[in-house]
């Protein structure tokens, strides 16, 4: 147990440093925007007849810190706001808290990413096992090559190709949004059907984009395990094929769980292209919109959230490993 606790503490410490780094980057960027929009905003509010105090407060709400005084004071204000989970107000949707906007957007990122990734994980590892066992055959070759091609193609190219195919050439799927506006959001058949229809392309893209990676990873993992002594030993002890197969599968899949957790974290950032292309209002689209609209509070918040997702994924991956691999649990170094 202490091993787990120690590892967790280490992760949390590193995660905290990462958060500091990322928020500092946001701060520096907001301070250094060409044309100093903070000052411009402040002056504009004064021109509109606000008192200096009012204007200052209004600006602070938008950027997360007071645009006055010395730089350290501003930085500390910004950071303390963050730790109170107060990220300021969004410029794009006046009056809305950044945290609320982010929460709403996260929902639309998490669901398709999760479904798409799990789908490709399941299919990918099964195909990977097959590709490993038939690795000297023609089919195994085809699986491996298709895997590396899919793995090599960037996500947005895949998304654009799928989009062009299913929304332009054979227009059977909607090209954007989360659901048709004609349906009342809620638990009714029309809305849910429309939701699924709209999520189909993003999910399909996530799935296809990561599928190749799973095939390759699982194939090489299975090939490694097949060469392990204990597999031959199990066969020479006359173990049933189904049991030997379970030995292989469990050992081979182990390192992939870590990758799975990590990739779920990374997909928060990777969702940017897919959400932009299919106009899907998740975190990625939010980040881009905030940049094009110069909504810096929202930008900083989205950037931070994406980073936190990765940190959390790292922790989950490591904890997962600790739970399923007895070697780590008892404090030995992971890996063979």
């Amino acid at each position: 147990m202490t091993v787990i606790a120690r590892r967790l503490a280490g992760h949390l410490a590193r995660g905290l440093v990462m958060v500091l780094v990322v928020t500092s980057i946001s701060f520096v960027i907001i301070r250094n925007i060409p044309g100093d929009p903070i000052a411009a905003r402040y002056e504009k509010l004064i021109e509109q007849g606000m008192s200096p105090e009012q204007a200052e407060r209004a600006t602070a709400v938008l950027y997360g810190f007071m645009p006055k005084g010395n730089l350290w004071q501003q930085y500390l204000d910004y950071m303390s706001g963050l730790f109170r989970l107060d990220l300021g107000e969004s410029l794009m949707t006046p009056g809305a808290q950044v945290t609320d906007v982010l929460f709403e957007a996260t929902k639309w990122t998490v669901l398709p990413v999760l479904v798409g990734t799990l789908l490709s994980f399941l299919i990918g590892i099964m195909m990977g096992v097959y590709a490993a066992i038939k690795r000297s055959g023609r089919l195994g070759d085809i699986l491996a090559v298709s895997g590396s091609l899919l793995h090599g193609i960037p996500q947005y190219v895949l998304a654009l190709l799928l989009g062009a195919l299913f929304t332009t050439l054979i227009p059977i799927l909607p090209s954007g949004g989360t659901a048709d506006i004609m349906f009342e959001p809620g638990f009714n058949l029309g809305y849910i059907g429309s939701l699924i229809e709209h999520a189909a392309l993003p999910v399909l893209t996530y799935a296809l984009a990561s599928y190749g990676g799973w095939i390759l990873a699982m194939k090489s993992s299975v090939v490694t395990v097949l060469g392990d002594d204990f597999i031959l030993a199990a066969e020479l002890r006359g173990m049933k094929r189904s049991i030997v197969f379970r030995y292989i599968a469990r050992n081979a899949i182990l390192p992939l769980f870590t990758i799975l957790a990590l990739s779920l974290g990374l997909l928060f950032g990777g969702a940017i292209f897919i959400e932009r292309i299919f106009n899907y209002p998740g975190l990625g689209l939010m980040l881009i919109d905030s940049i094009t609209n110069r909504d810096f509070a929202l930008m900083g918040g989205a950037f931070l959230l994406i980073t936190i997702a990765i940190i959390v994924a790292n922790i989950v991956a490591d904890m997962l490993y600790t739970v399923i691999d007895p070697r780590v649990r008892s404090g030995e170094e992971a890996g063979r």
Partner: protein, 352 residues
Amino acid sequence: MAVSVETSAETPVEPMPESAPKTAPGVRVGGLSVVYKTPAGELPAIAGIDLELRPGTITGVVGESGSGKSTLALSLLNAVQPPGRIAAGSVEIDGLGDVVGLRGEELRKARGRHIGYVFQAAQNSLNPLKTVGKQLLDLGRSHGVSDLRALVREAKELLGRMGLDGARVLDSHQHELSGGMRQRVGIMLALVLNAHLVVLDEPTTALDMITQATILRIIREVHEERGLTTMVITHDLGVVAEVADRLAVMYGGRVVEQGPTHEVLATPRHPYTRGLLGAIPRLVGDIDEARALPGRPPTLGTVPREGCVFRERCALRMDVCETVEPPTVADGPRLVACHAVEAGGAVREESA
């Protein structure tokens, strides 16, 4: 070995025929050849081996790496790994018949149940993710053991017999056991199903001296108590001297000399055996007397295609060695394959 994706349909396990030998079986290897597929064609790893394991004896098989001794051991279970295959010959085991002809389920059930195989201790022969106990149960289920409690009891007893705390070991993962403990677990798994033919592949390699001695003592004791037929594969003559009743010396995929251990060690006939014994430095005595054989053992690709495989390194080489493979000739209780020995005891005088 390739494992197919489909998990074999659970065929109802018929109760093991009680014909499973309760006594030590004899093993007769006849004309056994194993070839490996390489870019240069199929090359023989072992060629035309004749060897008998008498019931109730321990036979030591000695050879350098590449001599084909491990291939021979795997052949006893018809488990030569691709790209190798048994090209010719038979392995007759009492109560099982010719193992070379066994396929599929028949073969699988013979392994573990009739023939126990013990891996080199340094190899990780246990699933790292499961406790020893769980793997023991997997083994029991694989062989249709109905009384798993009795199996566990038997395992604990065996482990206790070998000086281990059975309950604790069964509860451990591989990484929690030392090399010597792993080796004893390996022996337990080979015996727990009551196999009476046991093959040990380099059982003491990579163990420290004390553990080596313990393992060898255990092998000897268990062998006698349970009435086994045992084959020990090793490169270490000391191991053979310690445990084996009979000794077979392999070189270049052939058994060049075999016979009672003490006789072979005391008066080696084949020039290779003589060289092998000469290469062992003694604690007492002049280090200069320890003389390594000149040259290197052949590998798959460099084994001569015809004639004697040892001639390149042989001090007694004759013209006939170039072209004719020496036949195995009986010399008292001993079998030797050497033209020079056959030609008459010239050996003793010439090698000073």
